[in-house]
């Protein structure tokens, strides 16, 4: 499939093995190597996942029983805001970019990303942005009490934590846009000869579409928060009702960003799953072309459905019907993807290693989240569910069991390529079953809470909600502790383990498996030729 000419021997995780490379901390600060940057993105993502997880467990502890016990209501609201922002902008998005950095050049036969120095910058913008975001907890007035949606006029009332958050979003947005430009340019211009777009692994396709979505919507979010900033400090009235502004306008703008954003988070996961399922079914992906078209259809539809997040603001009936129909339509391409994955497995020769287990967990739970998504797409039903725990359950099924499980699948899938060692299958399976079971214990009861009428974002609740909340809290702690198993699995794989062959999975076909494990520090200096 390809010809590889560079010498073997570079170690991605051994510093100083190369000429012209600083060692120690300076290696990581100055690196322009896509593998180093990918590694940093992934560790950053995991760190933020733990931080956001600690917030989540604090929230769940407070909700263990009625009455205020652990935090004050205002601190509770701040934790909710930060949990959302940290998980979305700190954990999920950088995680996906980490996989893109590591794997896209390897999968298309490119020597590195197109703009290697900009790549370094887009990573190093993230830690300061994250620090600014978290600093909000320690300034007078605390972090914003608005939830991650930052709706005015509430966000106009907040203290300086809000300004820190706005600037953090600006910086993270700039980082995302640079990352996206890099990814699109790499995919469009740096493919190996013979690697046509329609031969690209689906993961690259999913990121190509995602990067376009990012470039289209991150500037809109940046614009919206900039207008919020001028409303707060410079006397404009874009959103301030009392000054003649329109608070609903912010919601339109925010969700014009926010809805594509959820696809930005889930599309790379679709791509990762489309790599893992064929490998462990030992069978080519079913319906490659329709998978690509489904990705495009989802991306385009994602621009047309934003107001389904605003079904209770009082839209006219015609508007509601349009957004309801458009939202329901998304079920079609999403269904096509699920059916294609099943058809890929159909009559395959399936084995259940950890990556495949997580991919199946993804399929099962993401689809469940898809069904509840269809239910909340129906506006009259959504009137009962809007801003309740039903919605919380729904989006954790697609974000956690969807994207996060796909990240776990991909991590186990590529760990041998990254580290040169096989991970411990038993530990990984413990991680899977712990995550899968406790995820459901934590989040399934939230459907019941929402049905029974418990609003989201409340620090204290009426007593008929007590028992399911307690189940949920127990599940949340179980889920959180299960992630320590993941940390152990990854660290022990980096430190040692059975040496991994170049292609540890006999069903894998893409270009990265033609490289030795671990992948050399400089791969494909001359492009391989793809048939």
């Amino acid at each position: 499939m390809s010809s590889i000419t560079q010498p073997i021997g570079g170690h991605a995780d051994v510093a100083g093995g190369h000429e012209h490379h600083p060692s120690g901390i300076m290696r990581w600060i100055t690196t322009t190597n896509h593998k180093d940057i990918g590694t940093m993105y992934l560790w950053f993502s995991f760190t933020m996942f733990i931080v956001g997880g600690v917030f989540a467990l604090t929230i769940r502890s407070e909700l263990f029983e009625p009455g205020m016990q652990i935090v004050t209501p205002e601190r509770f609201n701040q934790l909710i805001t930060l949990h959302g922002l940290v998980m979305i902008f700190g954990a999920l998005m950088p995680g996906a970019v980490g996989f893109a950095n590591w794997m896209i050049p390897l999968q298309i036969g490119a020597p590195d990303m197109a703009f290697a120095r900009m790549n370094n910058l887009s990573f190093w913008l993230l830690p300061p942005a994250a620090i600014m975001l978290l600093l909000g907890l320690f300034v007078p007035g605390g972090a914003p009490e608005t939830g991650w949606t930052l709706y005015p006029p509430l966000s106009i009332q907040q203290g300086m934590g809000m300004d820190l958050t706005i600037f953090a979003i600006h910086i993270m947005g700039a980082s995302s846009i640079m990352g996206s430009i890099n990814i699109i340019t790499t995919i469009l211009n740096l493919r190996a000869p013979g690697m046509t777009l329609m031969k690209m692994p689906l993961f690259c396709w999913s990121w190509l579409i995602t990067a376009y979505l990012l470039i289209a919507v991150m500037p809109v979010l940046a614009g919206a928060v900039t207008m919020l900033l001028t409303d707060r400090h410079f006397g404009t009235s874009f959103f301030n009702a009392a000054g003649g502004g329109d608070p609903v306008l912010f919601q339109h703008v925010f969700w014009f960003f926010g809805h594509p954003e959820v696809y930005i988070i889930i599309l790379p996961a679709f791509g990762l799953i489309s790599e893992v399922i064929p490998t462990f079914s030992r069978k080519p992906l079913f319906g490659y072309a329709s998978m690509v078209y489904a990705l495009c259809a989802i991306a385009i539809l994602s621009f047309l459905v934003w107001a389904h997040h605003m079904f209770t603001v009082g839209l006219p009936a015609a508007g509601i019907l349009f957004y309801m129909y458009a939202t329901m339509m998304i079920a079609v391409p999403t269904g096509v993807k699920v059916f294609n994955w099943l058809a890929t497995m159909w009559r395959g020769s399936i084995t259940l290693e950890a990556p495949m287990l997580f991919a199946l967990g993804f399929l099962f739970l993401f689809t469940t989240g898809g069904f509840t998504g269809l239910i909340v797409a129906i506006q009259p039903i959504d009137v009962q569910f809007q801003d309740t725990y039903y919605v919380v359950a729904h989006f954790h099924y697609v974000m956690v069991a969807g994207t996060l499980f796909a990240f776990f699948a991909a991590t186990y899938y590529w760990l041998p390529k990254w580290t040169g060692h096989m991970y411990n299958e038993t530990v990984a399976k413990w991680h899977f079953w712990g995550s899968f079971i406790f995820f459901n214990v934590a989040f399934f009861p939230m459907h019941f809470l929402g049905l029974a009428g418990m609003p989201r974002r409340i620090p204290d609740y009426a007593q008929q909600f007590t028992n399911w909340n307690q189940v949920s809290t127990v599940g949340a702690f179980g889920f959180g502790l299960s992630q320590l198993i993941f940390l152990y699995a990854v660290v022990s794989c980096i430190r040692g383990g059975k040496p991994a062959p170049a292609k540890p999975w006999d069903g894998a076909t893409s270009l990265e498996w033609t490289l030795p494990s671990p992948a050399p520090y400089h791969s494909f200096p001359t492009p391989p030729v793809v048939q």
Partner: protein
């Protein structure tokens, strides 16, 4: 910096240089798009009707995605 009668650069360097130029063009194009979205968005809020501006930007995004990806499909 070539002139008539110059020695031809070897194929590989030529390939590299062309590739880098192409990458720069693509990257610059995308950056311009992002900047237009950011400033265009705020400007349209200030001067145009909000409903119109969202529609225009939404349509532009769709056309942009279709054209940008479609152009490369054949390659």
């Amino acid at each position: 910096m070539t002139f008539a009668g110059a020695v031809r650069v070897p194929d590989e360097d030529d390939f590299e240089a062309r590739r880098r130029a192409a990458a720069r063009r693509t990257g610059f194009g995308l950056l311009v798009v992002a900047l237009i979205f950011f400033f265009g968005f705020i400007a349209s809020r200030l001067w145009l009707s909000p409903d119109l501006s969202l529609g225009v930007i939404g349509a532009a995004v769709v056309v942009f995605v279709v054209v940008a990806v479609g152009r490369h499909l054949r390659k």
